[in-house]
Amino acid sequence: MLSNEVYSFFMDRGEYYGAGYYEEPHKSQFERFSRALRRYFENYSLPEYKGEPLYPCGSKWRTALVNPDFSFTVAVDWRRLAEQSQDVRSVLGNDFNLYVSRVPSVHTVGGNMYTHSYPNFKRIVYEGFDSYEKRIEKISDSEVRNGLLDLMVGIRCFHSRILQVLKDAGAVESELYKALAKVPFSPAETLYEALVCWNFVYYLDGCDDIGRMDADLIPLYKGEDMTEVFRCFFKNVDVNNGWSGTLGPDYNPLTVQCLKACKGIRRPSLELRVKPDMPKEVWDAAIEAIHAGGGSPSLYNEVGYQETLARLFPDIPAEDRINCAGGGCTETMLAGISNVGSLDAGINTAFIFWNVMRRSLVSSADFDDFYSAFIDEYSHQAKNVMDSISESQRIRAKFNPQPMRTLLVDDCIDRGKDFNNGGARYYWSVVNLAGMINVIDSMIAIKRLVFDTKNMTAEELLKRLDSGERIGNSVVPHHGVDSDEVNEMAARLSNDLCAVFEEKTPYMGGKFLPSSIQFTTYLEAGIGVGATPDGRLAGEALCDSIGAINGNDVKGVTALLNSAASLCQSKMAGTPVLNLKLNSSMLPTTLPALVQGYFEQGGMQMQVTCVSKEELLDAEKHPEKYPNLIVRIGGYSEYFSRLSPEHRRSVIERTCY
């Protein structure tokens, strides 16, 4: 099938992104995808203006078949496309599958070459897109230069159409219209203009992460209360299933306004960077927001993160490191200046453990022998995963440019390079470790039952696991009870799991950063894993965070925090997520102390769901009564009613103090 036939196919269906890609098929990938974006924005279906303080508002425009994608450049509904035309499906399959992830599917728990990002909102707000265009004109690479200039045409058209919508709605005299007459092409001069610009850029980016609003906007603050405007923006994030934003570490009135604005809203997942001297006013606002439900903000150890990043990346200056933020669920990146794999892969350590257990336990001379067999196999598979990530990056750099991110993230314009091909100032790759807690508990069980007390032989253990018996449930200590024996195992194992990532460098540069970010994937990740001696039956879920497996933390929240702190969290800087559920009555009196105590011991992050068990049990039976009940899951917030029944049960079973 010829390109012009594909072009016509898409044009006839109003699929402007798809059509744009086939307009000039002889051009480079960068130019073709730039054209695709241009046509998308020139024809973007704009909603009616209803008087909101910001515009656009509501869901971003999506067509049925082909859309821009901030992670993969393009997203295709292959099934629907095949129903309409097998020929076109075949052509697209050849064109859009030039890049395919090479990561082994068993190790994609939580991620498979996803890329979340933070546009450099701040630079656009204070410099304006007109200055960007001047910089683009100086790019020597004609493909990147032409592509970005083409994209700017589309953005200007989009902007003009927005002004027309406002005019048609009789809003010419509104503050919004006046602001948009200036931004985003000229610098913002007021806080409101900056927020209008920020919202516009958010929609350009495809509604991903929201930036460091309090830190970047405070220079324009003159005492205004913008809580309702922030809230309008957050609702735009929520309706588009957007992701994360960061607050702090230099707290200011906008920090509090953002915390007030996020109350009861599912997204963005706000991340509050906590310092030991965080003011009471900020704590009060944070606790009030957590209390309102939604799981925001989660809490981050500012000192811990800065020290860790300084150690991992000594060449990154402090003025760049200050932009530390969790993107997507909460993958550590630098806002506005980085391209971070978020998540590139998720190694299923429980799956590896189970296979090694079946293969090597019987022949292991002692516990250390078995442990070494596991670490050896894990290291081998982890290296394969790292190689596959690098190979995926190499191919993606060639075939899947991201023109919009090239425009919005530094230093792509100044380097004249695509976002996926060396343009960003910093690169690294975050890799998830799934099942780590299951492995810790299983190792303790094996050590005690088979090798220390010799309560059972290795063969007997395997046989009893196969028979469906829960092994290791009540007779051995678990992660979460602050047992010295288990804490030592946790420290040892987490250190060994992370160590292998220091042996390789990603193709795009930087480092591989291990993390523990499960969000909803801990349920499916257990499906292919047989019974393990942490009390888990075959196919059951893995642990959902670095806390205890559900129901094991029987000694209280301080014991749980001590246990979590025993992991080498500074090596899991991609973010080691800890889920905690606190009774709402305890929140104001204990949360700051718990957080400070945890962070002092090296804990890096904590996210708190605050809801009563009665509420959750009722919501499980009658989800329709709780459409707005939000819970925090492995890095982000989700509506309880949208979770599967298995996920809802899992959230309820997560221990509540």
């Binding site: 602050d482 000694k555 209280g556 929240v557 301080t558 014991a559 925090l561 001590n562 305890m586 009196t589 204990t590 700051p592 102390a593 718990l594 400070q596 105590g597 002092e600 011991q601 103090y657």
Partner: protein, 292 residues
Amino acid sequence: MNGTILNIQRFCTDDGPGIRTTVFLKGCPLHCVWCHNPESQAKRCEIMFDTQKCIECGSCSAVCSQKCHSFDANHTFKRDTCIGCGACAEACPTKALTLYGKRISVCEAYNEVKRDKVFYKTSGGGVTISGGEPLFQPDFTAELLKMCKENGIHTAIETSGFADEKSLFSVIEHCDLVLFDIKETDEELHKRYTGVPLKPILKNLQLINERGIPFIVRAPIIPSLNDRESHFSALKGIRASMSFCQGIQIMPYHKIGSYKYELLNREYGCDGVMEPSKETMEHWNKLISYGI
């Protein structure tokens, strides 16, 4: 130095300021009719027997050195010959038998308490020795408190105040705070409800005040037993007359522990007493008016 404890509970927020670890000792000279922890009264380790869970497998009698378990018509447990070794509880497959109480050294207890030191620091918390009655094992309590204080941990006890002066002074010299229970302010009613006289308790409270140790009065209020206005007035009088009293905290009656009496083969002294309503508790708090 060893003591008998029921439990060491971490992350307690109602046993003094901040986040605390509470060490519950076993043994109490009082036998309050409303006590919701009857297993805390006897000093010795003892078995609680839930007949509903018993499947009459006989595992307990097979391991019992004192022949306490017999199975004639049904399972009978001879409590008075039991030495509290716990062998039957360990052997019981259904947890129908549970051992309450264990012997522990001061060092072992301290090693558990010190685990949350970072949270004591961040919350202004510490350790509380409760029970049971901490003054009933004064040597153990004093040693443990001393060890905690020497290591910078805030110390508190929760006490009925019924003890000789020597025991009292040996303990309170290591206390930063005392949570002092006053069950009843009428001498006769106090004897009837708790089994011990009131006078020595009030005298000990005076001594604590004279020593300059801050204390909080904890007052369990039981409907139809001590919820009289005169009792509230007397409590307020204590508050007014003692400069180191930081306030009065009402502990409203609840039935949560009443099921345990059957497991101990004992009679519950508050059958028929109703738990107070929210409005009643608000009324009590108004009456007390010097509440925390």
